[in-house]
Amino acid sequence: MGLTDRLPRASRPSDAEGNAETSRGTAVRLDEVSHEYRLGSGRFRSGPDRSLLALRDVSLEVQSGTILGLKGPSGSGKSTLLHAVSGLLVPTTGEVSLLGIDLTELSSRRRTRVRRRHVGIVFQGFHLLPSLSARANVALPLVGAGVGRTKRRERATELLDAVGLGDRTTHLPGELSGGERQRVAIARALSTDPDVIVADEPTGELDTETGAAVLELLTALGRDRAVLLASHDAATLAIADRVVSLHDGQVVGRER
């Protein structure tokens, strides 16, 4: 039995931030998105202003139930694109829609709310809170969502069971292996039952065997969610339904 079978999607009320398309349709849409980082800016800057164009006129769509792989060398714009999709940054120009909600029109507070409800993020460096147990880490997004303690514990325990860490619920991150930590991070990303999973180099710090187990998990997640996956690694990108190549912030190729 796979992860998706064990954790059926929860039904949720309609979203306050627009008409969320929770059915199997376009989950993510980028329309001519460009983003420019200003370097050396600030009140006490010295020297001339410099800027870096991280994304240039990127347009793409990701359907629910598909995995989109992003490949490209370091600095090609993969992470910037993922940050734009998750609402962590607002692109300089263009439109980013998540389930029909235009993130570029929302305030920071509302983008945080959309992220809380619809996006799960898996970081390359795990970013688990070191002083919290595995279960408390998984339950963390549910604290932000205002879910009660009992339901948080139940959900976190269920998710840890699903990722094969049912016997590690009380362990601190420092007491877990790299693969176990990444599985905790994936369970955390799933705790609010998001529609979109964003994973930046999810196997970057794992050995081959552990990485394969994590990819199996992500494959299962991609059955009824949109998954955006950025990686250098061909084996990781192999689970994607489509792969977009980026170079210097531009889409230079689309595969499958």
Binding site: R12, T112, V119, I121, P130, L132, V143, G144, L172
Partner: protein, 397 residues
């Protein structure tokens, strides 16, 4: 997973508080968080010092020589009237002291009651030598040894008069030995001869005090006509003694002496200013310490705050984590400080062999209040550090 409405908001607040407490507990017990310990220690030491200084101030306000006694209830005149005296200025006195002391003694639960008269008097050895002005304290002794003005009444015979007990400081000034006859002269028209029955260490350092029978001192000082006394000391059950004292002197101040009274600070300018300075300095040091250490802690915690933002914690929840951490750390530091302050006061009293610092149950809310004020003054800086956290700089790499 809806988060609309007040229910989820309440659950979120409870969750954030729980998360913060869990993190603090784990940091304290399962990690080596030097900064957390430093914050706790800083607050605890500041609070302990504040309590010690306040305790000293209260003891100072509680009185010097004339109130260094072991009575359970103290009755003092409650008037503002000041009358002139040969030796200076003195306040209102209690009248019919011996008679009313007798009536107080007759009450159930009262062990003993003694009027106390305090008069500066010149003493000189009968067989020659230099005279000295000493503080004579008139008391009515009983069979039990009592402490009055820092001296034990045990050496005063209840049946014999014309006896005095010298404190060591008084003896040094006056060269008086036991059984030596001395002459006391209070006013130009009268001398009285006394026998020195003992020279004793006083619980009050450097006090030139001489214990004497009340009626002898009243006769010497002219207070016998109206049977005057400066105060009445009562030993026994506090409630019974206080009730008897209030019956005997309805217009006087009846004070239970079992615990020092912080209210006495307002009657003594020096003690009040001392405690006020300690309060202001204590809050300042405490707030500075919390600001610095919690600011550094939050700076180290930027990644955690960034992760919370990335997974959808609203801004106020992230800031609440910082504010609750700061206030809880301060509060725990205050509780440790109260314990340390208590120990410090007992240690100071033990070392001094006298009550140089008082303790009072009100110290607990006082210390917690001071720590909370310091915490509230300190909290804006960690909040500013937290608010400046940029999520992409911390987790975007």
């Amino acid at each position: 997973m809806s988060d609309d409405g007040r229910g989820p908001r309440r659950r979120r607040i409870r969750g954030v508080i729980g998360l913060t407490l869990t993190r603090l507990w784990k940091q304290a017990t399962r990690t080596t968080s030097g900064r957390l310990v430093a914050t706790l220690a800083g607050v605890a030491l500041t609070v302990a010092m504040l309590l010690l200084v306040t305790g000293v101030a209260i003891a100072l306000a509680g009185g010097g020589v004339a109130t260094a006694d072991d009575a359970d209830v103290r009755i003092t005149p409650d008037g503002e009237t000041v009358v002139s005296s040969v030796n200076g200025v003195e306040g209102t006195r209690l009248g019919a002291a011996s008679e009313r002391a007798e009536s107080i003694r007759s009450e159930e639960g009262v062990e003993h009651a003694s009027p106390v008269l305090v008069e500066p008097t010149t003493l000189e050895p009968i067989d020659g030598g230099e005279s000295a002005i000493l503080v004579l304290v008139g008391v009515v002794p009983d069979d039990e040894p009592r402490t009055v003005a820092g001296l034990s009444t045990a050496a005063l015979d209840t049946n014999n008069r014309r006896q005095i007990v010298l404190s060591e400081t008084a003896a040094d000034r006056f060269d008086g030995d036991a059984e030596r006859l001395v002459r006391a002269s209070y006013r130009s028209d009268g001398d009285t001869a006394f026998t020195v029955t003992a020279t004793e260490p006083s619980t009050v350092e450097d006090a030139p005090v001489v214990l004497v029978h009340l009626d002898d001192l009243q006769a010497l000082s002219g207070a016998a006509d109206d049977d005057l006394a400066d105060r009445m000391l009562v030993w026994g059950d506090r409630d019974a003694a206080a009730a008897a004292g209030a019956d005997a002197y309805p217009d006087a101040a009846v004070e239970r002496t079992g615990a020092a009274s912080p209210a006495s600070l307002f009657d003594d300018e020096l003690a009040f200013v001392t405690s006020l300075l300690a309060l202001v300095v204590g809050i300042g040091i405490c707030a500075s310490f919390i600001t610095t250490t919690m600011g550094m802690t939050v700076d180290e915690d930027r990644r955690v705050l960034a992760v919370l933002e990335a997974i959808g914690f609203p801004a106020y929840s992230r800031l609440a984590v910082v504010a609750v951490s700061t206030l809880v750390t301060t509060l725990v530091g205050a509780i440790v400080g109260i314990a340390l302050g208590w120990v410090g006061i007992y240690a100071a009293n033990s070392l001094a062999g006298a009550t140089v610092a008082a303790v009072h149950p009100l110290f607990v809310p006082y210390a917690i209040g001071v720590a909370l004020i310091a915490g509230l003054l300190a909290v804006p800086y960690p909040l500013v550090v937290a608010a400046r956290t940029t999520v992409l700089e911390e987790v975007g790499r």
